[in-house]
Homo-oligomer: 413 residues x 2
């Protein structure tokens, strides 16, 4: 292992600086994919890539790569590091940005100490990982891995009616490279846990060997608009009540099971949305996750059954549209062990764990050996301005990434 | 009783013509109070008032009156007829407009046949009866009856952030008369039932002797935004789940009781409203109605109790704001009997009933003897483009109104 260490101040200052871009007056940053505010974040990242003297490449889906290709390594596939810099609405400053800036920091450090890698090293920022404005999430890495056609992805219409392709062109990040133009030798993503496990169990580092499956659906319920004062309860076709029953069902089911299954309804709207009119239409999203594919399938089936029950009991029609579906992912055992060894060498306890969140690593894992490194999130809070990881943990995670990169690109004897 | 009858074709044609104003391409009319489209409806109504040679008066809250004041009646309080011409979103064409246009039709008919009333007769269209854009509903008649200060009402901010006073001025209906400037001798409102009772029980006419109480509240639930994939169910403060539990509670409670209590949640929104973020905030409205004040109070108390329970169980904070509250109303027994006699004289069975909906009549009842006449709504559908009443029923209701007006303004022997 190397005895080098990253430049703490540079990493932390850049993390804070990026976190100021697109910040809401009263909260955290909001940089939805391909928006005007995200453009500012992208421009800053690109400026830092150039400051590190890296070659900047942007592909057609807007993924940004900083490439370090020392002489003699051109014929080898690159080791890829990365994550994303788009955010949810009123987000924290660590989610995604930490992995991207730590990847850049690792490369900058290795160059400064005169390290000679046996292959190119690349840091990537993938487009629309959050999926708030455009579905599915992790879109940039999914397209890069060949899991979604780039034309289809560019044609995606957002929650604001915008077109992703047009938006990328408008902000100047509709690149010319074909997604997947660099085949990674391996991929490593450093990320905050976004959950409470590491902090609660007292581990400074997580060696992530798997990632839970994700099922996203949009549910549309059609009933009958009617007068709120004169329509007896028994004569109603109340789409809002039907939606509320589904939400409570998901909560009670998840609570009753002693599995890690989680279910979330994050978006909802009623029509006509008037105080004295029974809702004729309810539209909402369901986010189901489980580390076990069979259990995830069972949850989806149970939901489908309940939708049929509610449709019958409330005399409404219910349609479910799949927005995204990803099976649980197993990461590369050798890289995971390398992460554990690197942590040990720095005197840090690491915990083998499953990722509860979706990450670009699960997509790149389709085309290259991949793994993730987690650092603790205080109180497990994420997607929230209160998202926080201590500087000590942030620096430790980046140094472990540095050591793993050195190991994986060490000059062959 | 008189043997006169109204001009069927004129009434029905005007009803259809008004129903075309502000119509959605794919549905019914939308003329929210003081909007640009409602202005068009107001302009048409005023044009018809002038066509009938009535004096037009607009008060400060935008209520429009057509006044017939024959010589020698100036010293007497007028008999007032009326309702409203604002609508909900994607409405039917009968709600409110029928009572306003039938009132105008009755006056026009009486003038044409040379009837000599003993007092002036007025037809009014009251501002913002629906309360969709501005709360509370029945605002124009409430202000007219002195139940709400006109300045306070004009300062109301709408769901679209607009200011009612400014909007009324913008469309040219910020009148100069003080609300209440004409004290009604009595008030009669003809309206569609908006419920299924008359049709189901086979009555062409309802003699409405009371009106149920209404309680409107806005509920705001504050929880914690957090990552949908990594936050265990037990660690969540999910404002959306808490809202869904309240909605299902109201439904189950209303269903379990064998009272006429109705509860409706018509509006809802989540924040940040992202598919993979646990809602930090849920805002929704509750519309509670009951003909019995004690029972309505009990329902409000039960809701308040449940809100406390949910706040504790879901670890969220819940605030409830009262948007509107009206006690049940008893109408004038003598006018109700006059309505029954008029129906009988026309060979029509009438049913004594309670109004499930709120109406301007409940406000004017504070300052004058009042009552209502209902005609059947097919399948009880209202606040919906499918709202329908047969032409036979519409004409019959207007003729009963004509007869009642004649009776109440008959020249003293």
């Amino acid at each position: 292992m190397t005895s080098h260490s990253i430049n703490d101040a540079r990493l932390l200052n850049r993390l804070r600086a990026l976190g100021e871009i697109g910040r809401n007056p009263d909260g955290g940053p909001t940089r939805l994919a391909a928006s005007e505010t995200e453009k500012l974040g992208r421009d800053q990242f690109v400026a830092w890539l150039k400051e590190a003297d890296l070659d900047v490449a942007v592909d057609r889906i807007g993924n940004i790569f900083g490439v370090w290709k020392p002489q003699g390594t051109e014929s080898h596939d690159p080791l890829m590091l990365g994550s994303h810099i788009d955010t949810v609405i009123n987000a924290g400053i660590y989610d995604g940005c930490y992995g991207v800036l730590a990847g850049l920091e690792v490369i900058a450090t290795l160059r400064e100490v005169g390290f000679q890698p046996s292959r190119p090293i690349v840091v990537g920022a993938f487009t629309n990982e959050e999926g708030v404005r455009y579905a599915p999430d992790m879109m940039g890495s999914l397209v890069y891995a060949g899991g979604l056609d780039v034309e289809e992805a560019l044609a995606t219409v957002g929650i604001d009616g915008s077109n992703l392709g047009e938006e990328l062109a408008a902000i100047g990040y509709a690149g010319s490279h074909e997604p997947g133009f660099m085949k990674p030798h391996a991929y490593i993503e450093l990320h905050i846990e976004q959950g409470p496990v590491l902090e609660r169990e007292g581990f400074p580092v997580g060696a992530v060997d798997s990632l839970q499956g994700i099922s996203w659906q949009q549910i549309i319920i059609d009933g009958d608009a009617n007068h709120a004062g004169t329509t007896p309860i028994t004569m109603r076709k109340d789409a809002g009540v039907a939606a509320a029953r589904v939400i409570t069902f998901l909560r009670e089911r998840a609570k009753a099971s002693n599995t890690p299954t989680v279910a979330t309804v994050g978006c909802i709207s009623f029509e006509p949305n008037a105080i004295n009119v029974i809702p004729s239409k309810a539209t909402f999203t369901i986010d189901l996750r489980d580390p076990d594919e069979d259990r995830l399938l069972a949850e989806e089936a149970a939901l489908a059954d309940y939708l049929r029950t509610v449709a019958q009991e409330e005399q409404v029609t219910i349609t479910a549209e799949r927005l995204a579906r990803f099976q649980p992912v197993k990461f590369d055992g050798e890289i995971v062990r390398t992460i554990e060894e690197a942590a040990l060498a720095r005197g840090l306890k690491s915990k083998r764990m499953t990722s509860g969140a979706g990450h670009d690593a699960q997509m790149i894992a389709r085309i290259a050996p991949a793994a993730m490194i987690f650092v603790p999130s205080v109180a497990g809070i994420s997607h929230n301005p209160k998202e926080f990881t201590s500087e000590t943990d942030l620096v430790a995670g980046a140094n472990i990434l540095l050591d793993v990169v050195c190991k994986l690109t060490a000059p062959r004897e």
